[in-house]
Symmetry: C2
Subunit: 377 residues, 2 copies
């Protein structure tokens, strides 16, 4: 007689039972344990001590001038952006910025705002929520096929590091995009979410510098610091600025104290230090991931440039995404299938999107080992 | 021969030349110099020290549960709101909440979202920006004429203290509004922007308690603390909650650290202390304003209940709003004409909206004296 109680098959084996994700390899987040809490508290303290009373009042919808000045300097220096304080709009992270742009375009009479065929679903949703059509532009290992742009009113691109595929937008395609914008009056939106994190060479400057009057440059503190701060910024063409400010006035925005803290954080050099430290850390993680995969899962292939906080890992032949995601889950690893980011057009080969930036240091090597085991099984 | 240089007439007399507003009586702002900086810094410090790493990640679009719990307790206790953490949505101030509700209604197929005939222009704009018609509901000294509600999909009301006219929504009209909502499925949006500040009696509880499944209750830290924090909250009917959360996910929201700081601020009792202190201060200011007007400008009449941070001052016979606003400006006082808040329907008698909550303590009596002089001239 069996002594063990009868349990349903799907919970019988402890390693396939649903467990709390101990190893988070979701893409899109930095290592939150590396947030510089003491330095941020100092910046907040100074902001709170030095802010004039009016800074606590109804906020300038453009964002605090102190922050716009600090960003203009930083973006010119670090990303080659043509930026001036009176072209910068501070927003509550990039998705907020996308919806703001969508609503602004809609009010102008625009009908479509294209996104890359692979990308964050939430950006796709934000565009759709503003009432615009969202056609998709195919992407490959060299970024979006901008030569296919046609009658769209705007297009969202990730030139520095296509999300999630990982390519850098080829120079020829950058020029195509700019020509398209000049000829049609279409708007290019450059999502530079992780432009500071390039490991193999100096980062390419922002595409915006090629045509500041046709590109909205978008940056964020979500990867460099933490998404919970909800701090992002847009650099807009002159003739799009006022309407975006008007839309922003109705759409909320970040606390002025947090804005002043970020201004202080940038001006004091703490922002550069944080990025330098994190660049080294993420680069080491990427190298470790690539080495482990080469050793343990020879059939897998890491694609994309050496940059950012995530890598695309093409699966060994004959293995499905669902299968690997499930096997990883059984080992306590949460990781996403590439197809979760697919919005239309031709599909890429089966792959995982591995957010190596996400786990805390102490969990990183365990996460990689378990991921390799799930891939190798 | 004249020794003085010839100057254009409009700048010749120093008292009519445009001067920097030294005395700000604009309505809608608390006294920003009374923001409790040390207590807020303590709350931020604790939030930053105690927040788990995940709190720095992509934010729960509902808002941090710590804050939703603190608000549920506070709102039930202080405003009689039927609130539970899973019905509360944290947003970036009230205008953000209005646009969020507007977009949500629009997605449901709604066509119109009425506002009171007198109100904040920015709320009117936020509704219109979501693509809805914005009919207006007439208001008098007893609040909105809710008996006139008809086929609107939603209506924005200020039941505790009509903004800016200053009446409290009459009990009969509250019932009318609730009946209308029950019969038509229309949504009542209760903007409780200054419900804590009533001076002549215990504040009336929120209208929301009469029909929690038909009312969205909206509150804000903008009057109790500071608008610069950009912290507000909605309490939603069960069947409207999920769609509002989905919209909020695309629309930005406040920093999780600020949310945790406010949760701490409420739970520690600091929020109640701040409100008690400010209630006394604003009450004294209101009394001083009313007394000065009775003494200096007998023809003027202060209308509305004894509440809030502003008063409506009906002008002595034969004086126009523009005239008084200009005379006040010449004395360094910025104050708004009632007609600036008028969106349609029958107009009220000429009046000023006097934001007695706005100036710092040291400027208050000077502002009142100059206002009286401008009115008495």
């Amino acid at each position: 007689v069996a002594e063990r109680p009868v349990v349903p098959a799907e919970t019988a084996a402890p390693d396939v039972a649903p467990v709390q994700p101990r190893f988070d390899l979701n893409a899109g987040s930095p290592d939150l344990t590396a947030f510089p809490r003491p330095a941020w508290l100092s910046a907040l303290r100074r902001a709170l001590r030095e802010a004039p009373a009016e800074a606590l009042g109804y906020a300038d919808p453009r964002g605090r001038v102190e922050l716009r000045r600090a960003l203009a300097g930083y973006l010119a220096r670090a990303r080659g952006v043509h930026a001036a304080p009176d072209r910068i709009l501070v927003c509550s992270g990039f998705t907020h910025g996308v919806q703001l742009l969508g609503l602004t375009l809609r009010r102008r009479g625009a009908r479509s705002f294209a996104t890359e065929a692979y990308g964050h679903f939430v950006h796709h949703q934000a565009v759709a929520a503003s009432g615009l059509d969202v056609p998709v532009v195919a992407v490959d290992e060299h970024g979006a096929l901008t030569e296919l742009l046609d009658g769209e009113d705007a297009v969202l691109l990730t030139p520095a590091h296509q999300f999630p595929l990982g390519g850098s937008l080829a120079p020829r395609r950058r020029l195509h995009a700019v020509e398209w914008a000049r000829e049609t009056g279409g708007l290019l939106v450059e999502d530079d979410y992780d432009g500071e994190f390039r490991y193999d060479r100096q980062p390419l400057g922002a595409m915006q510098a090629l045509a500041p009057e046709h590109v909205v440059y978008a940056g964020t503190a979500s990867k460099s610091l933490a998404p919970g701060l909800r701090l992002g910024w847009l650099v807009l063409p002159g003739d799009r600025y006022d309407e975006a400010v008007a839309a922003r006035e109705l759409m909320g925005g970040p606390s002025t104290l947090e804005q002043l803290a970020l201004a202080d954080f940038i001006e004091s050099g703490a922002y550069d230090r944080q990025i330098r430290r994190r660049r080294i850390a993420y680069r080491n993680r990427r190298d470790a991931l690539v080495a482990a995969l080469a050793r343990e899962v020879p059939g897998a292939r890491v694609t994309g440039i050496e940059a950012g906080l995530h890598a695309v890992v093409e699966l060994p032949g004959g293995v499905s995404e669902d299968e690997v995601v499930e096997r990883a889950a059984a080992r306590g690893v949460v990781v996403q299938a590439l197809s979760e980011y697919h919005h239309g057009g031709p599909a890429r080969p089966p792959a995982l999107v591995v957010g190596y930036g996400t786990p805390p240091d102490h969990a990183f090597s365990g996460a990689v080992a378990r991921l390799c085991a799930a891939l190798a099984t």
